[in-house]
């Protein structure tokens, strides 16, 4: 018989038309906010996870503190080649790779973009370790080798259809980097990691020549030897660097990060932001719920006589209670459905707009769980909001209720 109650409740909502829609707005906004925030948050988290997992768990990243932008940029006391050599002597470190990440001007087809130029070590063994750990594979052409002076390898962003340069780069094309010409000899496969997909690789030597700096190091990658705990090795590296750079514990001007730590730091920040935003959305839901309560009270007053009639023809208290709870639950649920649609639309819009501005990390991820949860939650908010009015309705005395005009 529950179906009949749903039908009857639904009629009540339809009958009040505009007022029902207005009542749902609170729930609608709350659910839309929750769906869009969680989906964007999830998308961001996934993107970041994929980025960090591609670093490999046995690689430690050492860079100087205090900069902004790319790692090692704009810092007071950069890490050095000597630091790298000292790190290599730490027990448990197999080898180190010094890297340069340089923001450069890239010009193709008269379109100018600023992207990261990443160095590839000259040493073949180190080069292979680095490429392996980053999961980089050549899709077309070949990888860089020693003596590849005017050559570069580019990633997916440069040859994907409809890219910003309005030209799909192929092997053999020439690209201007900081106004110098370089030959593209290889294309990297798509990694799904937005930072990597935007990268241009160049051998260490020619890159240093381009930036005219033989000493600079932005990031040191320490490869942990098999059988050693990366966290323990990281502590030892910190100790060595503190001594070398003459800084006290707690006042380090450098960081040694395991991919896990990096990920956890970002994850914590994301979680805090999400909790705050969802808190705001929850307030909207609360207000929406109060709106439903208010509407339902009005509805009980308006329909006192109808309630009296129903009771006189055999409706028990619990029938009336159920009718009103279902009605307020449906108000919540309908608000929720519209809210989910709006939330999906909103986060997709944010994603598209962000992508147009080059922020490809921001992807909306919708899980079935999220949508089911939102549906369930909006219904429950509606039902909860209806409890008091429904109780009032169910307790009306038929004789009194029938007397109302």
């Amino acid at each position: 018989m529950i179906k009949d109650y749903f039908k009857l409740s639904f009629r009540g909502i339809i009958k009040r038309g505009l007022r029902s829609w207005l009542t749902m707005i609170g729930i609608f906004i709350g659910i839309a906010a929750i769906v869009s925030l969680i989906s964007l948050g999830n998308g961001l988290e996934q993107a970041i996870t994929s980025q960090f997992s591609s670093l490999g768990s046995d690689k430690l990243t050492i860079s100087a503190k205090g900069g902004f932008g790319m790692p090692g940029q704009g810092v007071l006391n950069p890490v050095t080649v000597d630091d790298a050599e000292a790190i290599e002597d730490v027990v448990g470190v197999d080898s180190t790779i010094t890297r340069i990440l340089e923001p450069v001007k890239i010009e193709i087809n008269d379109v100018i973009e600023y992207r990261a130029l990443a160095s590839i070590p000259e040493d073949t063994k180190l080069m292979n370790i680095l490429l392996d750990s980053m999961g980089l594979k050549i899709e077309k052409g070949r990888m860089l080798e020693q003596k590849d002076n005017d050559k570069i390898v580019v990633a997916y962003d440069y040859y994907k259809p409809d890219n910003v340069f309005k030209k799909q780069i192929i092997v053999g094309d020439r690209i201007l980097i900081n106004d110098r010409k370089y030959d593209v000899i290889g294309l990297l496969g798509k990694s799904g990691n937005p930072l990597m997909d935007g990268a241009v690789l160049m051998m260490d030597g020619p890159l240093r020549e381009l930036i005219d700096d033989k000493e600079r190091v932005d990031v040191i990658v320490a490869v942990v030897a098999a059988g050693f705990d990366p966290n323990k090795v990281a502590l030892d590296i910190e100790k060595t660097l503190r001594k070398r750079r003459d800084v006290k514990e707690g006042k380090e001007d450098f960081t040694v990060q395991t991919p896990k730590q990096l990920f956890e730091t970002v994850g914590t920040i994301l979680a805090v932001v999400q909790v705050i935003l969802i808190g705001i959305a929850a307030i909207s839901l609360l207000v929406g719920g109060i709106g439903i309560t208010n509407t339902m009270y009005t509805s009980v007053l308006e329909r006192t006589r109808d309630i009296g009639i129903m009771k006189s023809i055999g409706a028990r208290n619990k029938d009336i209670l159920l009718l009103y709870l279902i009605e307020s639950g449906l108000l919540g649920l309908t608000g929720g459905i519209v809210g989910i649609a709006a939330g999906i639309f909103l986060s997709k819009t944010v994603e598209i707009v962000a992508n147009n501005f080059g922020i490809s990390l921001l992807k909306a991820e919708f899980s079935l769980m999220l949508i089911l949860f939102a549906l369930f939650f909006s219904f429950i908010v509606g039902v909860a909001a209806g409890v008091l009015p429904a109780r009032q309705a169910s307790k009306l005395q038929p004789v009194e209720a029938l007397r109302k005009k």
Partner: protein, 237 residues
């Protein structure tokens, strides 16, 4: 008709020394002061009295819409005078069909749905409800008005929907409270004729509550109510 064919002569409703006291703050109003009456199966009786005689209260008692302050009410042999509202509702829905002066239909539902609603609270399945509602509405001559809302029907038609609804759960008693009070005389006469048909052809037990002698004269027996108790019984004819 098998339910009615037994021809037994049992009371369907019996009031024994029923008192109803309304507490109005400083004063207590005795609406009923020891009302006693007995309605047998298949009877058509009227409770008649001037306004202020306790008629409405009497109708609430007989209709199980309210419980007495003192005394006992037996519906179909069971004491209902101390039941909780929800149990009362269940009994009402099953055993009593109401016809009110102001029709009391739900305006947002069609005639058909109004009749079906009474069955819904008894848990009758939709198919049966539809079939029964259509039958009843056809019986009261509204076959072509089933899907109209009450506001699209005349007073007489609305009251006929109410009659159809009152019969939906095959009640023991049809209780009509001033059924012609809001109708013009012709529609009123029609409704009374319909009630008499219900009594004669379908052997329904009918209790009519009215202040109108003319209306009351349709019944077989008139209970005269005065100052909250039955002052006399008049047989018609």
């Amino acid at each position: 008709m098998d339910k009615n064919s037994k021809g037994d002569n049992r009371p369907v409703i019996e009031l024994k020394d029923v008192w109803k006291v309304y507490d109005m703050g400083h004063i207590k109003v005795n609406a009923l002061r020891g009302m006693t009456m007995k309605v047998m199966k298949d009877e058509f009786i009227a409770i008649m009295g001037p306004s202020g005689s306790g008629k409405s209260t009497a109708m609430n008692m007989v209709g199980a819409l309210d419980i007495p302050s003192k005394g006992a009410i037996y519906l179909d042999g069971h004491d209902i005078s101390k039941l909780h509202e929800s149990d009362l509702a269940q009994i009402r829905g099953k055993k009593i069909g109401f016809i009110f002066q102001s029709f009391n239909l739900i305006n947002s539902l069609t005639a058909m749905e109004n009749v079906m609603l009474a069955m819904m609270f008894q848990g009758t399945d939709e198919q049966t409800r539809k079939k029964k509602a259509a039958e009843l509405l056809t019986m009261v001559g509204l076959a072509d008005r089933m899907h109209h809302k009450p506001t699209e029907l005349s007073g007489g038609q609305q009251q006929r929907v109410a009659i159809a609804r009152s019969l939906a759960n095959d009640p023991e008693i049809v209780l009509a409270d001033e059924p012609t009070g809001n109708l013009d005389s012709l529609s009123g006469e029609n409704i009374m004729k319909m009630l008499m048909d219900l009594h004669h052809k379908e052997k329904r037990t009918i209790i009519l509550v009215t202040h109108d002698k003319q209306v009351a004269s349709h019944a077989e027996k008139i209970y005269l109510l005065k100052d909250g108790r039955i002052e006399g019984i008049k047989r018609v004819k």
